[in-house]
């Protein structure tokens, strides 16, 4: 049976996934910037996951996060898969919780994005802790949080800017 409604939904989801994968690829080819914590990234693909959670709810967001980490696993190896999975899944749940507060006008998009960026970092470090068995990886958290605040504000602002265009397509 051909179900038109689900086909459209699947196609749109595929487009979102492709968008988030290409954004993270784009980020990975940028050269490391001096004075920034090593390995720190803007997390541009989180714009897409935020949009997915806002429009499609928790399941779409989780699916994008899991598929993204599988992709990371294929291209960058097992440790990238674990770290991406831990960070992605934790940040999606945080995001959903923050959207609850945003709907009650407590937080704006910047706050939602910053908090989910911070929990993305915590999830990634938890993954790194599992891989290395060393609690010292969490020593990296303060500098990641400082950078995550900047990155979170930027992605929140970009999301607000591109939201109308994305909503027109989706």
């Amino acid at each position: 049976m051909f179900n038109n409604k689900y086909s459209i939904k699947t196609a749109k989801f595929g487009m979102l996934l492709a968008l988030s994968l290409s954004l993270s690829f784009l980020e990975s080819i940028l050269p490391p910037v001096p004075f920034l914590p090593p390995g720190a990234k803007l997390g541009l693909s989180n714009i897409v996951t935020m949009f997915a959670v806002i429009n499609g709810g928790l399941p779409s967001g989780l699916l994008i996060a899991v598929l993204k980490s599988v992709f990371a696993g294929f291209t960058r190896g097992f440790s990238a898969f674990i770290i991406s999975l831990c960070g992605g899944v934790l940040s999606i749940f945080t995001l959903r919780l923050m959207l609850f507060f945003k709907d009650r006008k407590l937080f704006g998009l910047a706050g939602v994005s910053v908090i989910s960026a911070v929990f993305h970092n915590i999830g990634q470090l938890a993954g790194a802790f599992v891989l290395t068995g060393s609690i010292y990886v969490f020593g990296y958290l303060p500098s990641l949080i400082l950078f995550g605040i900047i990155a979170g504000v930027i992605t929140g602002a970009v999301l607000k800017a591109v939201m109308p265009a994305l909503e027109k397509i989706m």
């Binding site: 090593p38 097992f78 704006g108 908090i115 290395t132 010292y136 990296y140």
Partner: protein, 129 residues
């Protein structure tokens, strides 16, 4: 319309900045830094394999870890660092020199972590555990 900033945003952002600044300032100071000699402690997959007193490295030297991917660790009189790693992202190498107690660098694909620890006055406990 979705706003970018609301009151709670400013509150949470400022408190996060203060907290992480505080954590960064506290690192490398007492009680986290007990003073005394610095040791480069090397962990592979969570197990401590070596604790090297930096003062023993009159002349700098390199250690190869037989992990997969392999890494090269440089030990010098005042610092330790990852010189190279056979992985793609090189985050551990880009972390640069570890110079004070509490500094750490990690190569995740290899599961290798270097942490600088201060021995404190007793100089025994770090060797004993």
């Amino acid at each position: 319309m979705d706003k970018i900033f609301r009151k709670c945003d400013a509150l949470i952002i400022i408190s996060l900045i203060l907290l992480s600044m505080l954590a960064l300032a506290a690192a490398g100071k007492p009680p986290f830094n007990k003073g005394g000699d610095l040791y480069a402690v090397i962990y592979v997959n969570g197990k401590e394999i070596e604790a090297i007193p930096l003062s023993s490295a009159e002349i700098g030297y390199e250690i190869n870890t037989d992990t997969s991917p392999s890494t090269v660790i440089r030990i010098e009189k005042n610092c330790a660092c990852f010189l190279n790693a056979e992985c793609r992202d090189k985050i551990c190498v880009n972390t640069g020199n570890l110079t004070k107690s509490g500094d750490a660098a990690a190569c995740l694909p290899a599961g290798v972590v270097i942490v600088l620890k201060s021995a404190g006055k007793s100089k025994v406990d770090i060797i004993a555990y």
